[in-house]
Symmetry: C2
Subunit: 335 residues, 2 copies
């Protein structure tokens, strides 16, 4: 398997990106294509051989307009990497660059799976027995009921193959658990998901509240990208707020400091287990070939985890699952 790496994307590129990639080569046995400024990449390789480098002179930055970046910067590492994937020169792309640019680029260059209306950003939260997929988390601010139906199917396939859920429980994010909760989008999506559940195609467990997400009320939480994005970032903020408060307690006095020192390793392990970056990157579900977004602040370990996820994604055949079921995922044109 060959993984195409956008070596220039992210806050710590190319150094940490190349490090993570080389670790994946060694530990996972993947072949690498590193895309970016050749001289910069070579400087990071430390004489390592057997790595393909594809030169690309430009870099997509956070200042670039995400909707036009990959088109305007045709010689950027991101654009060139996506072109290589489209042309069959590798099995997956992993990038820590701009989320919006990568998503737009993946959609324009690699294209969506035929019949899929919108690709979704679907991170897996480190909670519950198998992790919890939140789909969508920001790719699509405005959603139709059909998008949400497709997210439900795609998330279900992903959870089954990638998260080890035998029969993934799919929930619709809402303001209450009763069937009638929410607005027009939720009412219509609920009806579609219920029908898919009744037909035995997904395991729909109904509406899930915000409190239910981390409590593991569902394995796949379906939502529009606006709400999902706010929820994801909001919980990230709340946890970070609490971590700071905790730090305040630990440093409050000498006695506290000593007690905290005893707990230090276990707390570190806990923090690590809750770190979304440790799970890997975020899959763009619905794109016709695997494109994985690593966190922008990725260092070696996080980027390695994202590549590991890309490998699993390729092996799992989630794209084929979606293609084989696309007829159930489309609304009939109104007669």
């Amino acid at each position: 398997m060959r993984i195409i790496i956008d070596a220039m994307g992210g806050d710590n590129a190319p150094g940490e990106i190349v490090k993570g990639a080389l670790r994946a080569k060694k530990e996972l046995g993947v072949e690498l294509t590193l895309v970016g400024r050749e001289e910069d990449i070579r400087a990071c390789l430390g004489g390592e051989n057997g790595v393909e480098i594809v030169d690309a002179r430009e870099v997509v930055t956070m200042e670039d307009d995400p909707s036009t970046a990959t088109r305007r910067k045709k010689d950027s590492s991101m654009t060139v990497a996506l072109n290589l994937l489209r042309d069959g020169k590798g099995d997956a792309v992993v990038s820590a660059g701009s989320t919006g640019a990568l998503l737009t680029g993946a959609t324009l260059i690699v294209k969506r799976i035929k019949g899929i209306r919108r690709a979704a950003m679907a991170p897996v939260l480190p909670a519950g027995e198998h992790g919890i997929m939140l789909i969508d988390c920001g790719a699509n601010v405005d959603c139709t009921p059909e998008y949400l139906l497709q997210f439900a199917y795609m998330g279900s396939f992903y959870a089954k193959k990638m998260m080890g859920c035998e029969s993934p429980r799919v929930g619709l994010l809402n303001v209450g658990t009763e069937d009638t909760k929410g607005g027009e989008l939720q009412h219509q999506a609920f009806a579609l998901l219920k029908q898919a559940g009744d037909e035995g195609r997904i395991n729909f467990v109904g509406n899930v509240e915000g409190t239910g997400v981390f409590a593991g009320a569902a394995d796949v939480v379906v939502t529009d990208g606006f709400t999902g994005n706010v929820l994801l970032k909001g919980t990230e903020g709340a946890i970070s707020f609490m971590m700071n408060a905790l730090k305040g307690v630990f440093y409050k006095s000498t006695v506290n400091k000593l007690a905290a020192a005893v707990l230090k390793n276990d707390l570190k392990a806990m923090k690590k287990s809750m770190d979304v970056n440790e799970v890997g990157g975020t899959a763009f579900v619905g794109i016709s070939k695997p494109v994985i977004k690593a966190h922008g602040s990725s260092k070696e370990a996080a980027f390695f985890a994202a590549i590991r996820q890309a490998v699993a994604f390729v092996n799992a055949g989630v794209v084929a699952d979606i293609e084989n079921n696309i007829e159930y995922m489309k609304l009939k044109a109104e007669s």
Copy 2:
């Protein structure tokens, strides 16, 4: 000042409700009207005198349809309490009963402030320098840009008078901080809030992301009730998830248990400082007289805090602020 208490609302009614009310009578010097089954209330009073009791035979429960409960149960403690407030027999209502029923009842019986399109549920999160108001958190699933403009003004007045913010920073909850982020609702609301900011009527600081909420990027975070509800409950769930993980660390070994025992009191204080119930109840902003919702699980301390908030709300004159500025809060009818 006389506070009208729905003595039968909440999981711990009437016992803990009456206890919290009596504490408020003693410590805050308020007069009390306790509404509910007289014999049940008397049994909780322990011979305490100087408390008015208004008998009401029914109770609004969580099983009642919120949209019709106060109308159908005309002799419920909630309905009678709201009628007393409307008729000027007290200065505020405090209830730990069904949120939806109380909001509908307040809107139908006490009525909104003239010109206000929708009342909002606006809890104050225990973060930032003065707390952070999230408006709306579930009263209005579907919102128009005008609703959000009104939430911004109402939140701003509240934060100034109730939270001690000199010039409350008003932010619009969005998927990014750039001005152009979000969907149609956010684009239109942004333009209205920016205009109000440019005219010096509110201190609009632009878009705020989920991560920014707990980081204190704004004192008043404006959003539709769907997103606000998911965010509020989602962060509640995330914090509770983390608390459990923390407990796991503390109980992991005898050594850890000993270390945790040292930190116990400071951790308790931290937990308390982050407890939304300690701040008091949630104000229904936009209703013509103060109606405060206490948490359904309120015990004495939380219910006392909700009454304390009602007293502050009455004294602050937030309703008058809104009435005096209503002209700026309405969109001109399209010509």
